[in-house]
Structure formats: C-alpha cells, structure tokens
C-alpha cells in the first residue's frame, strides 16, 4: 500500500517538475499563444497559431517591442474548454506572459475570461463573435455582430431586394445571438415575422436533405435568401445538398458568416460560386498593405520549421488578419505606454491606437472593440471572394440587442 502511494506521489512530482516555469530572460518578453492545435477546433485555429508566429518573427526582425524580442509560449487548448482555462492560468501564473493572443470559440473565451480578470492579464480575441460581453482584460479585434451580420443583411435587403430570410445556424450561442439581433434588425426594416424562418442544426450535422428541401419551397417566390451561421464542417454537406437541389445563388443566395478563405480549402467551391460572405478582410483585397502581408506570410511559411506546419495551398482570412492586427495594436500600445504593464497598456489601447493593416485602417475603441472596414464578397470558383461592396469605418458595438426598434 505504502509503495502504491509513493507511486502516486512520484507521478505528481513528475508533473510538478514539468510545470515549473523557466527562468525569465531579460531581453525577451513572453507572449502567450492559446489555440487548439488538436481536437475539433484545430481545423481553424492552427492557422492562427501560424500567423501569430509569423507576426512575432516579423516584429522581432525589426527590433522587437520596446527593444525586447517576443518569445512566444505556444500551448494547445486541445478543443477542451476547461483545459483552456488551465492553460490560461499556466500562461499567466507560471509563464508570466505579458499578453495572450488566442481563443476561437466563444466558449473557450468564456472559459478563460475569469482567469484573465483575476490575474489582470491581457487577451486579444480575433474571431467574429456574438458580442454581449465586455471584459476589461480582453480586447476584441473580432467582428462584432454589427460588423458582419447587419451589413450582410443590409446588402441582401438593399442591393438584392430580398424579402424573405431563412436564418440557418448551428445550435450554439453565436448563431442564436446573431439571429436574435438580426430578427430585431429585420423587424426594424419592416420585414414581417412570417417572412423569417429560423432553423438550427446540431454540431457536426451531416444530413441537410430536409432543410434544403424546405429552403427550396421557402425560396419558390424568388425573393428569399439564406443567412447562414453554420459552423465549420457542416457547411460542406449543406452546400453540397443545396447545389444538388438546383438552388442557385441567383435565386436564393446564401450569406455565410462563418465561411472564410481558409474554410474554402475544404469546401467544394464549385458548389458555392455566387454565394456571399461578409468579413472585415478578404484575401483578394487589392491594397499594398495586403499584398505585402500575403507575400511576407507565404515567404515565412516556406522557411518555417514549426513541426507539422502546412506550407502548401495556404490562404489568409479575416481571423488571421485580425490576429495579426491585434499583435500590432498591442505593440503600438506598449510603445505608447512605454511599458509592458497591463494597466498602462490597456490605457494606451483605450486611448485609441491605430493600425493600418491588410484589411484597412483599424482603430481600437474605448469599449475594446475596433472600428474597421466591412466587406461583402461573392464566392468565386477559385475559393476567393470578389468584393462587391465595402462599408468603411464601421464602429464595433458588442451590445446590439434591443438597439433596433
């Protein structure tokens, strides 16, 4: 018995030793990267890790931040939300990172939020989300609902003259919230409730026959569209089914908020041609800043030595660029504050630092969201978006519900 218990303690000591933090090097500043590199979310989040490492190298090559080189601490959240909280604690309490860039799903952000608040840490969150949150320790470079969903619906209403809306989403908080806001928004635009249908499918749903049959009948009048907040994987069976049912983008366009260039890599783009997307960045944006960003990133990928990193067929998308923008905003704020201290950096950020990034000018607001451009694009067969319309300098507002009357 005693032996068994010493075994237990031995196993524990092993973990303790492993977790003991390394000593700080004076010339570097530690920066956390908290994304899922395994599990279901690895599919999206790995790209963000890549772009973050690229950004750090880019900054380090130009002398770092306040003369210190960035030393990334990469941890795997493994698509496991309590593990995210554990890793966040580790980054803050053990590694003492100055800032963390990370999280994709809302639940991962929710899971680490108390950790950042309690340790007074700093987290930059880059992925479109539902809003309804404002933490003094989180900066949301992400698109809020008003920077994606409402402009997207505006486009459907004003440019395409759509009158019937099929709101299709995965059954979780982001789609639910977005659709709540959209329903209010549509009501304020005098769209009768009878013309709005709201449907949810579980995560990983694979059979969209029924829903597509319903859309087909819903769209028989010719003035209908689909607003899709379907998550990740489920887009493939959905668009496949849609194409096979003969529903064309001209008859019934689908405006998706969760499908970006990165997702197109795994989608049969042929089936998506003509359908729409709304993001604050498209890879096809023709600006010098974007051209340079793409060139440098792909060049970096070529010579990267990160194990298992994909080098071929890579694209850029909005969450990646917003991660990139986040790092630069943080850098600008640190330099403005002249310190890595969280309180000073926060004050600097809140005072409105600006970064002219690949997606255009982004200004951090006092409410921790960004004013940025929003683009509406149409899918092309090569997995890129053709930009149809741009809305410039859209204010980021996390609390939208109840604002449209």
């Amino acid at each position: 018995m005693l032996k068994k218990i010493t075994q237990t303690l031995g196993a524990g000591a092993f973990a303790l030793g492993a977790l003991a933090s390394a000593l700080h090097a004076a010339e570097t500043v530690k920066v956390g990267v908290l994304h899922s590199l395994s599990g279901t979310m690895a599919i999206s989040e790995t790209s963000l890790r890549d772009v973050l490492l690229f950004t750090f190298d880019e900054i380090n090559a130009k002398g770092g931040v306040l003369g210190k080189k960035i030393e990334p601490v990469v941890v795997d959240g493994a698509s496991n939300w309590p593990l995210f909280a554990e890793k966040a604690k580790q980054l803050l309490e053990q590694d003492k990172t100055a800032v963390t860039f990370g999280c994709w799903t809302s639940v991962s952000r929710k899971s680490v939020l108390p950790v950042y608040e309690q340790n007074n840490g700093l987290l930059f969150y880059p992925v479109q989300y539902e809003g309804e949150e404002l933490s003094k320790n989180i900066f949301y470079t992400a698109e809020a609902v008003g920077q994606q969903a409402t402009p997207g619906v505006d486009y459907l209403l004003n440019e395409l003259g759509k009158k019937k809306f099929y709101l299709l989403g995965s059954d979780y908080v982001y789609p639910r919230t977005t659709n709540l806001v959209l329903k209010e928004y549509l009501a304020s635009k005098k769209i009768p409730a009878a013309n709005i249908k709201e449907v949810y499918t579980p995560f990983g749903h694979t059979d969209y026959q029924q829903i597509v049959a319903e859309i087909k009948q819903f769209a028989a009048s010719g003035d209908a569209c689909v607003v899709s907040t379907l998550n990740g994987d489920t887009n493939v069976p959905f668009f496949r089914e849609l194409a096979n049912a003969g529903i064309k983008s001209e008859d019934c366009p689908v405006m998706s908020f969760s499908v970006s260039e990165d997702e197109f890599r795994g989608l049969p783009t042929k089936d998506l041609v003509g359908h729409l997307g709304a993001w604050s960045y498209f890879m096809s944006l023709d600006t010098p800043a974007n051209t340079a960003f793409k060139k440098n990133f792909f060049a970096w990928l070529e010579k990267s030595t990160v194990p298992g990193i994909e080098k071929k067929g890579r694209v850029t998308n909005s969450p990646m660029v917003l991660s990139y923008v986040g790092v630069y905003l943080w850098k600008a704020a640190v330099e403005k504050a002249g310190s890595f201290e969280v309180d000073k950096v926060r004050a600097a950020l809140e005072s409105g630092v600006v970064f002219d990034g690949p997606g255009g000018k982004a200004t951090m607001q006092k409410n921790h969201h960004m004013t940025k451009n929003v683009y509406i694009g149409e899918t092309l067969a090569d997995g890129q978006f053709k930009i149809l319309k741009s809305y410039e300098g859209v204010y980021g507002e996390p609390f939208l519900k109840g604002t449209f009357k």
Binding site: G39, I43, Y200, G204, P268
Partner: protein
Amino acid sequence: MLRTLSIFLFLLAAAALSAAPDASRARLLAALVAPADQQVAAVRALVGLEDAALVPTLTAWRAAELYLVTTGTASPVPALLAPLPGDADGRLQALAVADGLPVKDPATGQPLTFAPKELKALDTTAPLRRAIRDVLEVAGVADPSPAVRRESIERLGQSRKADHLPLLQARLAIEFSPAVRSALQDAIAFIQLADPAVEVRLQAITDLAAAHSLAAAARFKEQIALPADAPGAASPVELAALKTAVKTIEDHWSRVNFFGNLFRGLSAGSVLLLIALGLAITFGLMGVINMAHGELMVVGAYATFVVQNLFAAAFGPGSLAFNFYFLAALPVAFAAAALVGLVIERGVIQFLYKRPLESLLATWGVSLALQQTFRLVFGPANVQINAPAWLQGGTALYDVAFAYNRLFVIGFAVLVVFGVWLVLNRTPLGLLVRAVMQNRQMASCIGVKTTRVNMLTFAFGSGLAGLAGACLSQLGNVGPGMGQLHIIDAFMVVVSGGVGNVLGSVAASLGIGVTDQLLQPVLGAVMGKILVLFAIILFLQWRPGGLFPTRSRSLD
C-alpha cells in the same frame, strides 16, 4: 473550362458590338453616360431596345466589368475588355461599346491593352442595378438559352406588371421548350391575377392551382387574409376560388413532402447502412469494439481525395476522364482501409479477442493516433473533394427532388449489401468466417486457420468502412475529425439491428433513417436526433437483443 467560357462570351459580345444599328446604339450609349439623377430612368427606357449590344453591355455593367477608357485627350469611352488573341500576359483589349472595335492608341494606331485594375469600372448603385436587371429580364425572355428565358419569365411573372403581358403572350405563341412554356403560362396567370375582368382572374387562379405554384399559394394567402373592405380584397366568389386553390396547392405539397421524406429517409438510412455494415462485420460478427472504425472511413475518404488529385493531375480537372475518378477511387478506398485494418488487427486486436471491452480502449488509442496522423499528412483543415459531374444535380419526379448523389448512395448501399451477402453466404471465406465467429476454438480444432480468418474478416470489415468513407466524401466534409461524427450512429445501428446479423443492420439503418427524416420537419434536427436516440434506448429495453437477436444456449 471557365476560362474558355468567358472567352466565348467576350467573343460573342465583340460580335454583338460590331453589328451596330446606329439609333439604338446611341440610346444605349446615352444611358451609360447619362447624369446620375437621370440614369435610372434612362436605363429603364431601354426596355425592349432591339440592339445586340444591349445584353452584353448591361450584363457587364451590372457586374462592374464595363470600363471607361480614356485615350489621349478624347473623352472617356465605355468599353468591354476582351482577351487579346495570342497574348500570354493576360492583358486585355478594350472593345468600345459604340462600334465594337478595339480602342486604339491615337498616336500609333495600335490597339491598346489593359489589365482590369488599370481602368475605372463604370459605377453602379443598387437602384441602378435593379433597373438593369429589369431591362435584362425583359431582354432575357428572348434569350437563346432556355434557362435564362425561364428565369427571366419567372421574375417577370412575380413582378406582376400588366405591361409585360403582351411580351409574354407573344413569346408563348412561339416558345417551343415545354419547361419555358409552363413557366410562361404561370407568369401570365400571375399577372392576370390583377386583371380587371373577374373571369380572367378566376381562370388565372385555377391555372396556378393546377400548376401547384407555391409562390401563388403565398400570394393567395395574403389576399385571403385581407380584411373585406381593404383595397384589392377578393369578392366572395373569388375568395372561394382562392381557398380551393390554396388547398389544392397545399395538399399537393404535403404529398410531395411525404414522399420526399420517405426518399430522404431511404437515403439517410443508406448512408447509415454503409457506415454500419463494416461494423456489423467487425463488431457484430467478430465481437471487436473498434472505436477506430470512423477513422477507417476517413482513410477511405482520403484515398478518394488522393485519387481525385491524381486524376486531376493526369487528365486535368475539367476533363471527361476526371469524372470517372470516383469509380477508380472506390476499390482504392476499399483496399487502403482494408490494409490499415489489417495492420490494426495484427498490431492490436489479435491480442484482444477475449477482451472485447479492452479492445474498445486500445482501438480508441488507435483512433487518436490516426486522427493526428491525418492532421500531419493532410493538414488540419478539411480537404476539397469535387463531385464528378454525374453525381451533381438531380432530377424531380412529381415535384419530389431526387439528387443524383443520393440516388447513387441508395443504389450503392444495395450493391454493397448484396456483395456482403454473397461473400458471407456464397464463398468459402464466408463459410469459414461464420464457423470461426460461432466458435473460435472449435473452428481451430477442425483445422480452420482462425488467425487468417480473423485477419481477413477484419480487413474485409475495414474495407467496407473505407467504401463508406468514399461515399461520404461525396456528401459531406472530409477532414481528420470526420470519423467521430458517425461512430456512435454506426454502433447504434448494429446494436439495434441485433449483433451478428447483417440483415438486422439493414432493417435498423433504414428504420432509423426514415424515423429521423419523418421527425425532423416536426421537431427540428436536434430534437429529432435526440428523440431517435432515446427511442433506440427504449427499443432495446423492449428487445434487448435488437431486431434480430442471436440466441445462445450457454449460460453466459
């Protein structure tokens, strides 16, 4: 393919531009450069303009592909860009809308070349684009392509403007395509709903009811809902007609939905069946709980992906031969998954035949490792699989939609079941399999090489999983986590069918598929699925051995 098409279109446009009847062309040009506040009116006035350049010019304008070309000091000329014959740099020449000739350098007299981004596209606004669309729709009624004609006609019908009536009726007199004719009749009836003469209106209602038009039903319901004194409210006679029409249309569609649900259930069941068949062999017959079964499907799906890429590389992605990649992928998927299965059986499972619950754990470890391998080999993102042309689209019979890929899956499932039945019942291997599965020790006593039989059976079941994966690649996504989506469903099918009974799996998968599809419209996708799961749990309370239980007389 796309490039050839666009070149063709441009050549067509060029031809249209060059044949220039002057008066109409002038009107078109005037509209293009009209002052902003008069532009919409000017464009709308183009309705019915008989000019070959009308459609290509407006189409390009609407797509922001009509450019203003400035040469020297002259005022800008509206022009379309077309490929320069024989030019490899991708530079384009500009064909002026006015005469269809290339815009030339005033100095040298040589055609100028451009890249699209060097030029300014002619601006549009949303109201302008709508006006353009309206003009194009009217023009589209006479378009050479039946699909364009049909779409334009449907839109005109929905706009319900009486002034389009003569145009549509004129077209009806000469239209030959049955699909377009029926669209024309519907559109005419739609417009006639607002006819001043009550008989015409009543006839239109009857016609639309007979055509089972859903769009009409929506309009009818709106009209029925109007208060009696509202403008446009129906007279009592009309009201009765409207109600009958709505009922006729709705009855029709509820029948359509019923048969549609049955078909969808059949197809969902076939997918389940394909997924579960391999498991019915490895789990049902052999008693191995293979948690990596899902990953074996992924092997099949990735095999399909690889074959697709090989075909694309060898024959070109648009070629005829490319369309047959899927047929070649099926045996490859089977073989690849069977091979991986073989390795798993030799490496892990052969030690665990007497410990089924532990095979669950070990194979779970295998599934983790396989998933990470997929990630490292093919990347963490999903891979792109393009369906061959013959699996795209669908057909409709009595308004029930049949997608080709679904029809294929049903047919394929039937074939695979038949194949499995043949293997198990009509081959020496099948005999050995059944012998070993019934009593391993006894079989080995009578000289059956049980090791070999186990190996082959497991490989066979794995190969079936590979086939299922290949099929799924045509329906859904292919990525490292794809296998996890289906594994529980597969186990549920085998368990409720009765372990060790392939026929049971067939019945269970079809039952589950149809139930799921029938429940979905009522309860939604999530609750439907939950309910099916609970139904299975309860069903097994009632019949613990599944649909077709295997009885045993031994004590345990």
